[in-house]
Every structure is written in C-alpha cells, then in structure tokens.
C-alpha cells in the first residue's frame, strides 16, 4: 500500500471547545485517488474534523498538523482550503432556490469578461460540468424546480467548477431515494477512476461497504481504527462494532408482539393538494391499526405517505375532501391538530428540525409542548411537574443531555428525536404515527429508538411507522402497507415481507394482498 502516494494526512488533531474536547489526537491518512469513508456515531467528531480540514476552524484554533499534497497547510478560512482544491459539500445543500443551475454553479466564482459576468461562457462551462456529473438539465432551470438528487449533482458540479482535488461529501445520500443514491455512488466511482480523491461521511453502512476503499472510524472524538475494505474483508457488522465499540447482536431489539383488536380505522380517505386543487394526493385510501401493532408504510419518496399521515392528523396537510376516521368503533372528526391530540393521536414528523421541534426551546418545555394542559392547574403551568415529566422521559429514553434545561438545538439528531418522541409520549396517545423516525440517526441511537417503539406497542398503543428504509420496516413492523402515487397498493404481513415484494408493490398500482 505504501506505494500509493498520500494526498492528505491529519496528524493528532485536537480541537477543544469551551469545556468539551470535540477531537482528541485524531489521525487521518487519505491516499490519492481513493474513496475514504469516515464513520462514527453522531457526535463522534466527524463534522468537526471536516471543519478543521476545510478551514472553518482556522489554523491555530486546533492542535495538530495537516499535511496536504506533501506540505503542511495552515488554512485560515474556507476560501483558503478551496483554493487548495478541498471542497466540502454539506448535508444541507448551499444552493439558492431562486437562481438557475448555472448561476448556482458559478456563485462566487463567476467567469468574467471585462468586469461583467460572461454568461455565454458560464453556460457553456456549466453544460460541460453538468455532463461530468451526469446531470441532464437546461442550465437555466431554477434550482427549486429540480429534485433533491439533481440538486446534489449541482453541488458537485459546483465543486468541480472550483477545480477540486479532494471532494468531501457529508451525508450525500441522506435525502436521496434509492435510484438517486445509486447514481451518486456510481458517479463517485467514476471520479475515482479519473483520479479525484473523495472523503465520504455516511450513516448508510451498506453504501460505505459498497464504495469505500478505506474506512476511518471515529468514536467519542478519537480515532478507533482505519480499515482497508478489501484487505480486511470489512462488512457492515464490522463497521458497527468499531463505531459503537461493542458487538450489536441484532439491529433490532427482541420483541414479542401482543396484537389486539382493530381500534383505529381510516376509510376512503381523499385529500387534494393544498395549492393545485386538481392534484389528488390521497386517493381513496383505507387502512386499519390494531392495538399493540406496529404498522409500516412503505413507498418511494413522494408516494404520499407523509401527506396521508398529516392529513389524518387533524388535516394538517392538504384540502380534505372525503373519508372517515373511526376510533374505538366511533367515527371521529379531526378538524385541527388540537382535535387530533385530544383524540389520542400523535404525529412525529419526518423533518424534526424544520417542523418537529422549536430549536430555540429547552428540553423541558419541548417535552410538554404538545399537552400543556397536563401540567396546568387553573391555567397556570407547574414548573415542578414540567421538570419532573421531562426528567422522567430523559431517564427513560436515555437522552444524552446534561440537564433538561439544555437547548434542543444543541443536541445530536438522535437525542433530538428522543425529545420529539418524549413530547408525543407525554400526550399519552393511543395511536403514534412516526414519519422516518430514524432518518439521520446513527446506529446506536437507532437501536434505542426501535426499542422505544416496541415498548410503546407492548403498552397496547397502535404505532404507524413510515420509512424509506425497507430493512427497517421489515425488521420492525408487524404489517406493512405499500403506497404508490397516493394510493395504497398492498398490505403485506411480516412473514411475507422482503425487500423485493415491497419494492414491487411500491412501484405498481396493482393491488396485492397477502396476509
């Protein structure tokens, strides 16, 4: 291996924040032309390490040495690192929705002719760059009019416009569907064959296993090990072991379902799109949930699963057209979220940062936010009860935070998700709808959240899980509905559920029932 030249070496990097050692003595060696994966649980220090590398934390604010292309680099800011050919593509895309693809690609880097932007050249170069990343669009198309997958490609094209030598991708496939993810991974392989070095940070271990040459694993701000995928015969379990520091015997906790009677039923549910009234987002959908049952909803992105869940949850999405909800044998009408909460429904949204939590709030008040009446006496909130409730859930869900006074915005994704779960468990719901409950959450926390879901079901609650990860649905759910283009296309019992059967139902309108 020593014959392959080293592109980057980070030597015993230590980065301290007031009171917290985010990185201690971390080493990273990236060989030229490889795909190097960095794995670790949330909070392990991956992002911090990349920020050190890209100059977000300038030289002098950390200890250690960065040797890049054979000489020590002291980046003072992002511009300096970009000049050296290190480009980082963040999970949250830095694109401007109202501007065109070409404008975005050259933002801050516009080709000029006599002081003015040379749009002819820009468009020509944009087309060239877009071809390199396999993006077939008119460069004048606005960013907001293309999908997330294509937006990701624009980001990469933007990186190439800066003459990238080392491309860093932070969770590049987190928001992408299967097809787009596959395309992206192929693209990365293509770059490798053309000598571009990539660092990829991802929670999707199967992808890492498939694509990476080397894997560096971080845990609690320290380097655990660096694995050579081919030489060491690395598989997913091996990576997980390194990340969590122990063997995870199973990805799902043990659970014996105790399924009762049907208590919740949605019949002939029809909902129209909130803006374009001719678009039907829920087409005559019907489903049932039993007590103690975990019901999955599988479907491709945009299939209408979230829309269904939110429209049932107090008509918080779209325009209600027709359909009934029956709970415990009686028809109920849920005109607002407050109605839904009063009737024992809870909805954990897929995007906890955007619509699930008030990030300015502390854990305490977030926990009780959806049912303030429970801690109110004659209209006055009891701080003691608020604290006790929050503290109880913190302990029960093992939320990692110093106190319940901590801001939720400062927590890691997994812990934020636990706060959201606590918030809805606090409302003591009969039916809990979880939309992508483990998105962006690392392996260890995932396992815990599965456990919580199962415990809720064991308490006799109905749980609905919407997920894009088929193994998660198959591992967790007792029964799975498939959704395609706003209609329920199948209902599959756990025993019959395989990725293949689900995928088939998720991509066709033909109904198939196996029970």
């Amino acid at each position: 291996m020593s014959d392959v030249p080293t592109l980057l070496e980070m030597r015993s990097i230590t980065k301290e924040f007031p009171g917290v050692k985010a990185l201690s003595d971390v080493n990273l060696v990236v060989r030229a032309g490889e795909i190097h994966a960095i794995c670790g649980e949330n909070g392990a220090g991956k992002s911090t390490l990349m920020k050190v590398l890209s100059g977000v934390y300038p030289h002098g604010t950390y200890d250690g040495k960065i040797v890049y292309q054979g000489s020590e680099s002291k980046f003072s800011d992002i511009r300096a690192s970009e000049k050296a050919g290190i480009v980082i593509i963040h999970q949250e895309l830095a694109l401007i929705p109202g501007m065109s693809i070409a404008e975005n690609i050259f933002l801050g880097n516009e080709p000029r002719k006599r002081g003015a932007i040379d749009w002819k050249a820009a468009n020509r170069m944009a087309l060239d760059l877009m071809a390199r990343v396999g993006l077939e669009e008119d460069p004048d198309t606005l960013i907001k009019d293309i999908g997330v997958g294509k937006q990701q490609l624009v980001e990469i094209a933007k990186a190439f416009a800066k003459d990238v030598k080392l491309l860093i991708l932070d969770e590049p496939t987190a928001a992408l569907n299967e097809a787009d993810s596959r395309h992206l991974l192929d693209l990365l392989r293509g770059f490798r064959s053309r000598g571009v070095t990539s660092i990829i940070i991802s929670h999707k271990l199967n992808e890492i296993e498939a694509i990476a040459d080397q894997i560096t694993i971080l845990r609690d701000g320290r380097t655990v090990e660096t694995l050579d995928v081919k030489a060491d015969g690395v598989d997913e379990d091996r990576i997980v072991r390194g990340m969590v520091g122990r063997e995870l015997s199973s990805r799902f906790p043990d659970h014996t379902p105790k399924i009762g009677e049907v208590f919740f039923e949605v019949r002939n549910w029809n909902v129209r799109h909130p803006i374009s009234a001719d678009r039907q987002v829920c087409k005559n959908e019907s489903f049932v949930v039993r007590r103690g049952e975990i019901v999955g909803f599988a479907g491709l992105m945009g299939a209408g699963r979230t829309e269904l869940a939110m429209s049932v949850f107090g008509r918080s999405y779209g325009v209600y057209e027709s359909g009934t909800i029956i709970k415990d044998g009686k028809e109920i009408v849920l005109k607002s979220v407050a109605d839904a909460i009063d009737h024992g429904l809870a909805y954990v949204s897929e995007d906890r940062k955007a619509i699930g939590l008030n990030l300015l709030d502390d854990i305490k008040s977030s926990t009780v936010a959806a049912k303030l009446s429970k801690i109110s006496h004659r209209g006055v909130l009891s701080e003691v009860e608020e604290y006790q409730a929050a503290e109880a859930y913190r302990k029960e869900l093992r939320t990692k935070a110093p106190t319940v006074d901590e801001n939720v915005g400062k927590l890691s994704g997994g812990n934020q998700q636990k706060v959201v779960l606590a918030k809805w468990m606090f409302t003591d719901p009969d039916l809990l709808i979880l939309d992508e409950p483990t998105r962006g959450i690392d392996v260890g926390a995932k396992y815990e959240i599965y456990g919580i879901i199962q415990r809720l079901a064991e308490q006799g609650k109905g749980v609905v899980v919407i997920s894009s990860e088929l193994p998660e649905l198959i591992g967790l759910c007792d029964r799975i509905y498939t959704v395609f283009e706003g209609a329920i296309t199948g209902e599959i019992a756990r025993a019959d559920a395989t990725p293949e059967t689900l995928m088939k139902q998720m991509t066709s309108t033909k109904k198939m029932l196996t029970r």
């Binding site: 924040f17 007031p18 009171g19 949850f313 107090g314 918080s316 607002s336 979220v337 407050a338 839904a340 909460i341 909805y347 949204s349 955007a354 619509i355 699930g356 939590l357 008030n358 990030l359 300015l360 709030d361 502390d362 008040s365 936010a369 959806a370 049912k371 303030l372 009446s373 109110s376 209209g379 006055v380 909130l381 701080e383 003691v384 604290y387 006790q388 503290e391 110093p402 106190t403 319940v404 006074d405 918030k423």
Partner: protein, 432 residues
Amino acid sequence: MSRLKDLQKNLFGGTTSNARQFGMIFTLVAIVVLFQILTDGLTLRSDNLIALFQQNSYILILAIGMLMVIVAGHIDLSVGSVAAFAGILVAKSMTEWDLPWPAAIVFGLAIGAIIGAWQGFWVAYIGVPAFIVTLAGMLLFRGGNQYIGNANTIPVPEGFREIGSGFLPEFGPNTGYNNGTLLLGLVAALAVVWRELQARKTRRAMDADPAPMWVSILRMAVMVGVIAFAALRFASGRVGTSFPISGLILVVLVIAYSFYTRNTAGGRHIYAVGGNSRAAELSGVKLKRVNFFVMMNMSVLASLAGMIFVARSAASGPQDGNGWELDAIAAVFIGGAAVAGGIGTISGSIVGGLVMAVLNNGLQLMGVGTDRVQIIKGLVLLLAVAIDVYNKSQGRFSIVGSLMRPFRREDSVPPASPPDAEREPAKAAVSG
C-alpha cells in the same frame, strides 16, 4: 474559593438566559451608577426617579406588547399612530361628548381592541405580513388622528390626567414619607422573600439541592435592600408626589404579562409560534389565534400608552405617538429579543427600555443636546445587539453567558430556578 463559586452559580443562575438577564441588569446598574456620579447625585434623587418613571411608563408599556409581537415573529410599526388615534378619540369623548373619564378609559381600550382586531385579522387570517399591515396602520391611524383632531390640541379633564401625572395618595399618619409608597415597598419586599422561599421549595420538589441558605439570604438581602432604597426614594418626594400612578399601572402590567408569558399555556404558545410556527402548529397550537391575539393585545396596550401620554400632557396633540414604535422596538431588542422571533422576555425588554430611559435622562441632566443624545442612543442600540450577535456567532451566548459557562457545566442539576432572575426587574420595578 468554593464559596465564591457557590455564589456565582447560585446568585445569577446558570442558564444562558439567566446569565444574559444578569448582564442586562448589570448594564443598567452600571449606567445608573455612572450617571449618579456624572450628575452629582441627581439621577437617584427622588424627584428625578419619579420623573423618570412618569416619562417612560408609556414606552415601557408599549415594550411589553412589542416583546410579545416580536417573540411571535412579527413587528408592529403602528403603535405610535394607534396611540395617537386612541388618544384623540378619548380626549374628544370627554371634552365634546361629555363622557366621564373612567368610561373614556374603557372606551379607549375598546378602540385599541377594535384596531387590534382589524390588524390581527389581516395578519392572522389573511396572512399579510405584520410589517405591511402595521405600516398601513401607521399611515391609516395617523391620518385618522389628524382627520378627527384637525391637527388641534384637545385638553383633557383633571380626573383623567391622574393616570398620566397622578401619584399614590397621601393617607395615614405623618411618617415623613408617602405611606402608600412605603406600603407598596413592604408588599414588594414580602413578595421577594416569599418567592425566594417558594423557589427553594420548588427546587427541592425537582430533586435538586437548593442554593445554600446563605446565598438565598444574600440574594434576599440585596433585593430587599434595592426595594427599600427605591421605596424610600419614591416615598420621600415632595409632598403631593410619590410613586406615580402610571408607574403602578406599568408594574401591574409587567407582573401580569411576565406571569402570562412564562406560566401559562397561552404564553408558551407565543414562544412556540415564534420559534418554529410549523412545529407549533403540529403540536396543536392554534397559530391564527396566537397571531391574532398578539396583534390585538399590542393595539390595546398602544391605546393605553396613548391615553397615559395624553393624561400626562394634559392634552391630546397632533405630535402624539411620533416615533414611539422605534423606542419600543429598540427596548425589546436591547433587552435581548431575537429579530427572528422565539426569544425574549418581558423583564428583559423592561430593562432594555430602562437602559434607554436612564441614558436619555442622564444625558439630559448633563445638559447634552437631543442631537447628541440621539447619536448616543443609536450607538447603544447597535452595540447592544452587535455584542449579542457577535457572541452568538462565536458559539457563546453573550459575554456574561460565557463567563458563567464554566460554572454551568459542572452542575448537572438545574441551577437557581429561572423565574428568580427573570422576575428581578419586575420586582425592581415595583419599587424602583
């Protein structure tokens, strides 16, 4: 050493908001002391303290409403115009329609409610940004004021003037002080002690060790001392003057609204909407109702402020309300509210308003012209917010917050319950 740590940890609380609040109070105290020295003791003389409260109570009342509007993620530019509009109508109602003054006050509040409902309707139910709605309102009600008043100055009767320029009455034995004010101070002091004991009880209920007894006692002694000082100052004004009625109205409002925003579901909802409106909606918060309420409430308080100003000026004039919105907004932002909403406290805004008020008053006492006063106020506003923004961008909450940070990490229990520090300015307002 450990005692010092104890003190730091427990006296100022540990959460960032507490630390920030402490920073604000510290700034206020520093400015007061500075001017006390620069003006040879005029600043804290009873007649000046009384004047300070009378002059600023209406702006501080506006700041209460503005804080809620800003926390909910809106802004209200129309408060000055609404105040002027309500003021002229109330003045007219008394001089031309012979309404008795108590009825006129109710009438004024009703006008505020109607205007507020109008603005709230556009903001909450139609979804027009509050900036636009209230910009329109600013023109609308300013024009209304001029249309109704013909740009004339309309005097108001004696009884009504009390709410702007009246004082607690003189009664009881001759103690050399105003007895009403002394009584008020006593009540405030008892309230402080009661709260401190209550807080200790609360902390015990939270399974947390309360602060060491001596810290509690020190804290009580400091606050009771401040209250006693202020009460004596206000009570020893010239005979006939004492704690102003307008100040009393302000104190009642501050306590009521602090309680509302902190300890009721309705108050929580305002913060939730400002912090993340979609998340709030999905938690069962009735978004439209909250938005409607904050806008309506603001206009009611604006009309109250307008009436107090008219009462103090003994007449409603065409210049009433000019520029008030800016003073109120400045107070709220100096007091630590976030421009994007979701963050801020009533007490912070009051302290922010007082910082501006003391600055204004102190500079005037020094004979600094309004031109330079405006320059200084502008710089203070910019600096206060800039320091905050800078510190946030550095990953710290504020200078004081960062000072306090080392003490925070080492205690895993919630430190001194937040209401203490939050209420401090309210208490100070009771008396001083």
